[in-house]
Amino acid sequence: MTRPSIKGQRLVALFLLGFLLLNYPLLNLFAGSGHVLGVPVLYAYVFAVWALLIGLMALVVEERSD
């Protein structure tokens, strides 16, 4: 945690990214019918973004900055 501020800023950036990806209008691109591997594209998209966000947050938080 030697550079806490950069981590905080990265997390804020992730928040903005997540907010954009999970709201209108980007969300609308995936709102229709259609399937990815048998899963409706809307669910596949939302859960994929969600998992991606968590992964990135873990990367940012757990990064050893020493």
Binding site: L11, F19, L37, L42, Y43, I54
Partner: protein
Amino acid sequence: MLTAPVIVIASFAYLGLLFAIAYYGDKRADDGRSIIANPYIFALSLAVYCTSWTFYGSVGRAATSGIGFLPIYLGPTLMAALWWYVMLKIIRISKQNRITSIADFIASRYGKSQMLGGLVTIIAVVGVIPYIALQLKAISNTFSIVLHDPEMAMADKQSTPLFLGDNTFYIAMLLAAFTILFGTRHLDATERHEGLVAAVAFESLVKLLAFIAVGLFVTFWLYDGFGDIFERAAQVPELVPLLTFGGAAGNYTTWAALTFLSMAAIMFLPRQWQVTVVENVDERHLTKAIWLFPLYLLAINVFVLPIALGGLMHFPNGTVDADTFVLTLPMAENTLWLALFAFIGGLSAATGMVIVETIALSTMVCNDLVMPVLLRMKGLRLTERRDLSGLLLGIRRGAIVLILVLGYLYFYLAGEAYALVSIGLISFSAVAQFAPAIIGGIFWKGGTRTGAVCGLAAGFLVWIYTLLLPSFAKSGWLPINFLSQGMFGIDLFKPQQLFGLSGLDDITHCLFWSMLANIGCYMAVSLAKGPSAAEHGQATVFVDALRQSGATAGPRLWRGSASVNDLLALLGRFLGPERAREAFETYARGRGARSIEALAADASLVHHTESLLAGAIGSASARVMVASVVAEEPLGLDEVMNIIDEASQVLAYSRQLEQKSHELEAATNELRGANQRLQELDRLKDDFISTVTHELRTPLTSIRAFSEILKDNPSLDESQRTKFLGIIIKESERLTRLINQVLDLAKIESGNAEWHTSEIDMREVVDDAVAAVSQMLKENSVQLEINVPQGLPTIVADRDRLMQVMLNLLSNAAKFCKRGDGRVSVTLARQDHVLRVDVTDNGAGVSDSDKEVIFEKFRQVGDTLTDRPQGTGLGLPICRQIIHHFGGSLWVESQPGQGATFSFILPLQRAAGRMPLAA
């Protein structure tokens, strides 16, 4: 088949297990080996966010609105990314100020306002009651479902009598008892409950595993994996809308509104505050929870839609409430162990929520609502009671029961009209009202108490009007035309289409208007009238929390005086004397003090006491209580500004520097002065030596000159020879005298002179001196007059030294009085406490400028070129030294041409004081 005994026994066994875990957790905490001090337990305890709402309600929501259940979990995920700046700050502020609830936090932020604390508590209690009703409804429903297995009977509350005839009431009371056992066994200044956290974390694990078990069962047992479920659902026309956005899922506005609501809820629900802020052991756990907690949310939501779709396809005719699919699907397939596991999971979700929520609320009710009122009621004399800890626990236990009874009543009155999630959202909208005051409070220094009160009150009223009252109306407890026609039949006042705003669902509608009112009032009122001194002080403490080091955060704002014992006694009344003493001892050890007695009642100790008290009774009450034993000096606005403003800190710092440099300058000046004096003294010494050598050379020169004449002229006649020898002898005598005097002066000045003090009569000294100089006076034909009254007291001094002084003064007088018609008078007199001696002549006198010069060494007044020096120039300086030695003073008064009077005084006090000793 699941029978009632099996279910009841299983439920109690599970609750017993929880209690064992809690007990173990508390015990480990007391031993100092915490089992919750790791980020995984912390993240699991945060999952108390997932209640029956998540466990049962999400499926129900998904069954009607598809993906519409998800914003409630996406919001917290997004919020977690902001925790680094928001939650970390809140935690740090709370730790620094010993804040134990939201009410305390907001009250403390806005100048420790009791009114604000009370308002926040009321909003929290009223707002959260539907949420508790939701849990009761879930437990009650599922209980009745498993009891009626395998009939799938849906509960029908309206036919059952209120309270005693209703199972739900017993469930509520059981939960109250359980909560009391968990949370209010003893009082702790930090309000931390390690055992409780351990139990909650365990519950989070149980509900996650139970839900995933049901999810796996539905997805891979009933169906053939995700693809299979979705493929089959796509063939059912009614289910197709659930798979896409829009239609049943609502619109993007609702989506964003729910995201926002859940972002606020994840921080400001009282139970979330409790586990995140109050129960936090280490800030680093929060940073890890930033991704662990969203991961939990993701895991518990993966199977929501498959279960919902599976349920809808399994019970196609709508006979089964979608809110119960998690339980009814396993039951329908007759996998009773799974049904029981699901039931236990649901019980976990509900009990975890109810326990933590009611504990958090009871703390607020006690600290911020009841205690401030009780403390103000002078008749109760609470401030004089020695031990109030019992009362505090009693209030909290009462509050827990009351909250559950209110939850039960709401469930009974309004629970039927809504699905689980809709009830929960009513509560979410209520706690979202805290967001402006808290977020504004930690990032904006301009927010004021009145602003916060107005904002909260306005938002809360709008919430009541647009969400709470409609929920009563829909349940038939208010006339239904309240909804369709508005209050007083005015269309504009339709609670769910306020001012004609339509096209929004009820939650979004309420959120918009309440936030508009809340943020609007908060900002407008705050900006209309700036913060007061106290508010500004707290604002700085909160907004700059991450910049301050912990130790200096609070006590700077305090001035006054207190006693350690008063503070200890005060603390003892609320925590119990032993705990108070322990707390003080810990503090003393931390300060390096040996014992409590060695502590100083400084600002820091007062602050520490206040924050310990704040843990037990809330910060606003704590301030009042501490003020009752501390004579606090009022802090002026200017002073507060000076102390706390960042700019003024710098200013104060530079002022300090300035002061320091002033001091340094002063010291330098002193040093320079001392140096100058030293140089002066050095110069004087050099002068002295050169003068002495000069004075010595003069007689030596004449001795040598006359000796050489005598040697070189052996033929000198007898008379000449005799004359020259006489001069040589005279000069030698003078030389001797001079050397003696130099030695004498040196001795006196260095303090090495010998003094032979005895009791002497000044008259004798005068007589002897006059006798000694009488020959000289006669030679100069000087008339002498002596005025010595009878009965003068004796003094203690050195007779020979005083004689020396008198001789010197008399010979000087004789030398300098008028030639031929000289008159000298000696007067002895007593003046108050001194003996005064005046020696007056009628000579040329001493000019004003010479009056001090003549007392300097080797300074003889008169033209030394023409007049031969008639003395050594050391007589008067020696006299003055002698007189000073005996505590007197010597001076001269003179008018040029009118003669001069040399006077000295000697104190009689010394003699009077010494006489008895000598006697």
